[in-house]
């Protein structure tokens, strides 16, 4: 399945739709261009895997390779801490969605204001709404979602992907930022 349409059937969006990531180099280019990118990672990172690797490990690799700070929401922070990863900050998903609407806000001194946000790890409808907030009220920020399913409120999103295609795409992104082994 490679359709750029909402994964949950009824979650149709407004006039603005995310551009579909057809080439992962786009994400690399966005990251290269961004001055202060940020990853916002939810609790599904604790349970979902890519190529048998927990997504939390993938997030750490991507963060490390791209020098991107992570906001870990809910109890996701615990796993980052347990893995000795120290570039993660704790906020609630709703809190960070609110904070990112403040054009001056930054996750840590000299690490913002943020101009690119990568999201992953939420129930589909929740991420859909978080991205809706950002598209409407954080026009200074571009958003990229790296989940398997198309999120129309992002600036860039994968179309709905089969698991294997998604695994491949994630690997390519990591390679693009110099993180793949």
């Amino acid at each position: 399945m490679m359709r750029a349409e909402p994964w949950q059937s009824a979650e149709v969006c407004g006039p603005t739709k995310a551009q579909s990531i057809k080439k992962t180099a786009v994400v690399g280019a966005l990251l290269k261009k961004a001055k202060h990118p940020l990853m916002v990672i939810g609790a599904q990172a604790l349970t979902e895997k890519t190529r048998k690797k927990p997504m939390i490990d993938y997030c750490i690799e991507l963060s490390t390779a791209g020098n991107i700070p992570i906001v870990a929401t809910a109890n996701t922070i615990k796993a980052f801490k347990e893995k000795g990863f120290d570039n993660a900050y704790s906020y609630g998903a709703m809190e960070i969605t609110g904070r990112l609407q403040d054009h001056d806000w930054m996750v840590a001194p000299k690490k913002g204001p943020h101009d690119l946000v990568i999201t992953y790890g939420y129930p589909y409808y929740m991420e859909w709404l978080m991205l809706s907030a950002l598209i409407n009220f954080s026009q200074h920020i571009k958003t990229v979602t790296i989940g398997r399913y198309y999120q129309p409120h992002a600036t860039w999103s994968f179309p709905n992907l089969k698991k294997q295609n998604w695994n491949d795409a994630l690997k390519e992104i990591l390679t693009t930022v110099g993180g793949a082994k």
């Binding site: 949950q8 603005t16 709703m94 129930p123 409407n136």
Partner: protein, 791 residues
């Protein structure tokens, strides 16, 4: 001749005489009601805002909304409400009427709150009018012994203490006027400001609390419900508690009146032993409050499974939370449907004026699948007679397919994923169907455990599979054993209970009051709210339930088979878990907070909303939780708590309310209060940090609940206790010592003794300085002796 004359605030003057001789003649039992007049024999002075109109409390709302700024997450960036539209409001564009996306988002919030309030208020109006018809306008209202402040919300808002049904009706007149005004503001070309839409949502939320309180007060007073009874009976619940040998009457909805006539008719005709009457949703609780032998099937989400399993010989629907397609499902299992409320006539013929036996005959023969009846006495007779006749006749009980049939049908699955894409919770329905192809129904049973019973998967399936029925069949072994005990609704909190706990709550030594309200309609919702309640009760919080959450929590049993209600007392005290009753009973939770201000702090309630809300916001560590909130009623209930300054947490799909009320702990200027003693402006810690928040998962709920119980007025001991809980839960679920503890330390004495070293280190690192502990208020006029001259 006996003559009574009564005058009441904002009510009518009434002259009642056994016999009256006039120039026109002599009359007996004369009752004359004249206009609206002022005053009564209540000596509490009237506060500044009796019967506030839509903008009377606006400045209070704006204070809250400035601190807790709405964060909108629009579900739709279009407006389709007028013929200028559709209008694209994306990213700052304005519609043809001039409204932008913030205004439109706030308008949706107000629309939802209006709808929710209307549902409760219409219920309340029906209840009061019906009871006046039955018992007369002078019937006295009561909450039972130990309750002198019997309607704290109504007193606070309207300045009236309702003592009779007629008083209740006058209060509803006021509420209905306010609802009309707030509803009108949603119209195109009216309000345009997000903050004033929000203020109106707060207003209608407040009105909703009054309407709910009046509804419950009326039914408690007239129907013999438990009256503020901590030992309200434990009642049977769950499918296994039904007796298949008896005719089964299922009542669905929120308005108990029709069901009381059914129970009365059964009792009067001596057939009580031949029928089981059970309820789904709030009517379930209220029938057990009327008669503890009635049974509870379960919450709203169990409608479909119960109906399809074929238990009901008759289905009676009243109002709210009814599946709107219930008639279609009932037809498949030969269960006649009796619609009893004008809100949900279900397209059925109105047979109110027909002969009872003719109606029964048509229902039993299947000539009509259901009827709409408005005469309560007739409803009682028709339902009981029909159930008794249908019971032996209904050979096909249930529309569940056999396991072999499921396996056979599953072979044709197209693997299109539409069932998953339709599921609000992304359950692996298709994988379960594929497993069923091999005869393995285990995964379908597992989906059943997480299913909220919406059946959207079925609507989406191109093969028209009745997937919900498949799940129910697969899990048959589980639900057939489903039996648990819940405590029937106790009603209000006694004044005497408030006297015991008022001080420790305000000082923070009882760390908080947790109110689980509304639905727990979320995967594993019963487990989540049970574990949450148990954990916080162990920590000496007071845990209060109402509505469907109150029955869902009972589904979880310990090793001895006991539900939380069997393990914990029903008093309003530390470590207790109590059930106030149905949805309208949750007004008693707000009432308890209000009574703390009155009884413990001796503040006047009467028409004094702002002062009492300010008191509660700064002092009473109450937190509302609605884990599976889904309705507009939940929105208006939450709005009522927001205006009182009480934070509300919703579960993950509460994000779909599309607006949070978020504080900014990092902005010191947002957390300034007046010190009522000195008149100085004082910065306090961010407590409660947020006013409306959707958590991502159970773990976040646990940490946030403890944090949101913090209040500026906590004593040192209370603050230390609250911080201990926050730190402990944060370490448990987030895995480390929270980094913001220092911001909650005002003086050394606030530090939990066992955590001194860690906290001292954090204080040092953050260059902590001692802070004053004010007598906090957001309202300048409440500074003692004047207007805050010490600024």
């Amino acid at each position: 001749m006996k003559v009574e004359f009564a005058l009441t605030e904002q009510k009518r003057a009434r002259l009642k005489a056994d016999k009256l001789d006039t120039g026109f003649g002599s009359f007996r039992n004369v009752e004359v009601t004249i206009g609206k007049v002022v005053d009564d024999d209540w000596d509490e002075p009237m506060g500044p805002t009796p019967m506030p109109d839509v903008t009377t409390l606006r400045s209070w709302d704006h204070k809250l909304l400035t601190r807790y700024r709405p964060a909108y997450m629009p579900a739709c960036q279009l407006c389709c409400l007028c013929t200028f539209g559709k209008c694209d409001l994306t990213s700052g564009k304005r519609g043809a009427c001039g409204l932008d996306i913030e205004g439109q988002s706030a308008r949706i919030v107000l629309a939802a709150a209006n709808i929710g309030c209307a549902a409760h208020l219409a219920h309340s109006r029906h209840m009061v009018d019906h009871m006046i018809h039955e018992f007369g306008p002078r019937f006295e209202l009561t909450q039972g012994e130990g309750v002198e402040i019997e309607a704290p919300v109504a007193r606070l808002v309207t300045g009236i203490r309702p003592r009779t049904l007629e008083d209740a009706s006058a209060i509803l007149d006021y509420c209905e006027t306010q609802l009309t005004h707030t509803l009108s503001a949603v119209h195109t070309g009216q309000e345009g400001s997000w903050i004033d839409f929000e203020s109106k949502a707060f207003h209608v939320g407040m009105i909703d609390q009054v309407g709910m309180e009046i509804a419950d007060l009326a039914q408690i007073s007239t129907l013999g419900f438990p009256q503020s009874d901590p030992e309200a009976p434990l009642v049977e619940a769950g499918i296994a508690s039904m007796d298949p040998k008896k005719a089964m009457i299922l009542a669905i909805g929120h308005n108990v009146v029709p069901a009381t006539y059914i129970m009365d008719y059964a009792s009067e005709t001596g057939v009580t032993e031949n029928i089981d009457i059970a309820g789904i949703c709030c009517t379930a609780f209220d029938i057990t409050r009327y008669d503890a032998k009635a049974k509870i099937v379960g919450p709203i989400s169990w409608q479909l499974r119960f109906v399809r399993a074929g238990f009901a010989d008759v289905i009676v629907v009243d109002e709210q939370c009814i599946r709107t397609d219930i008639l279609d499902h009932a037809k498949k299992v030969n269960s006649p449907v009796i619609a009893t409320c004008d809100k949900s006539a279900m397209g059925l013929p109105d047979r109110t004026d027909d002969d009872t036996d003719e109606i029964v005959k048509d229902l039993v023969s299947g000539k009509t699948p259901g009827v709409y009846l408005t005469d309560h006495a007739k409803i009682g007779e028709v339902v009981v007679k029909t159930a008794i006749k249908m019971h032996p006749k209904r050979k096909k009980k249930g529309s569940l397919p056999s396991k072999a049939k499921i396996q056979e049908l599953a072979q044709a699955c197209r693997q299109c994923s539409e069932c998953i894409r339709a599921c609000p919770n992304d359950q692996p329905v298709m994988d379960a169907v594929l497993a069923a192809q091999e005869g393995n129904l285990g995964p379908l049973a597992d989906v059943y455990d997480e299913c909220i019973g919406c059946a959207r998967c079925e609507s989406a399936c191109p093969n028209d599979y009745e997937l919900h029925s498949w799940m129910v069949k697969a899990a048959e072994g589980r639900w057939k054993q489903e039996s648990f005990m819940v405590r029937s609704g106790r009603g209000a909190i006694k004044d005497t209970e408030i006297r015991t706990v008022g001080q420790p709550i305000v000082f923070g030594e009882i760390p908080g009051v947790i109110a689980h309200v509304g639905c727990a309609n979320y995967p594993d919702g019963g487990r989540a709210i049970h574990d949450h309640a148990e954990e916080f009760a162990k920590r000496r919080f007071i845990v209060v339930f109402s509505g469907c959450a109150a029955m869902t929590v009972g589904t979880i049993k310990d090793e001895e088979g006991k539900s939380i209600y069997e393990r914990r007392p029903g008093t309003f005290d530390a470590g207790s878990v109590l059930n106030v009753g149905s949805c309208v009973s949750n007004s008693h939770i707000a009432g308890a907070a209000i009574k703390i201000a009155s009884i413990f702090a001796k503040r006047n309630l009467r028409g004094n909303y702002e002062e009492i809300a300010d008191y509660i916001h700064n002092r009473v560590g109450a937190v509302g939780i609605s884990w599976g909130a889904m309705s507009q009623k939940a929105a208006s209930i939450a709005a009522g708590f927001w205006r009182l300054g009480v934070p509300v947490i919703v579960g993950p799909h509460g994000t779909k309310y599309r607006r949070m009320l978020l504080g900014r702990a990092d902005k010191a200027e947002d957390w300034m209060v007046w010190d009522a003693r000195t008149g100085k402006r004082v910065q306090v810690a961010a407590g409660p940090e947020h006013l409306f928040y959707a958590v991502e998962n159970f773990e976040e709920l646990m940490v946030l609940t403890a944090k949101l119980a913090i209040r500026p007025n906590d004593t040192a001991k209370g603050r230390a206790i609250k911080l201990s809980h926050y730190i402990d839960l944060h370490e448990t679920y987030n895995g480390y010592f929270p980094e913001d503890v220092h911001s909650y330390i005002r003086r050394e004495t606030d530090i939990p003794i066992t955590l001194k070293d860690k906290i001292h280190a954090q204080m040092k690192e953050n260059k902590w300085k001692e802070k004053p502990i004010p007598d906090p208020t957001l309202v300048r006029r409440l500074v003692y002796g004047g207007n805050g001259g010490g600024e």
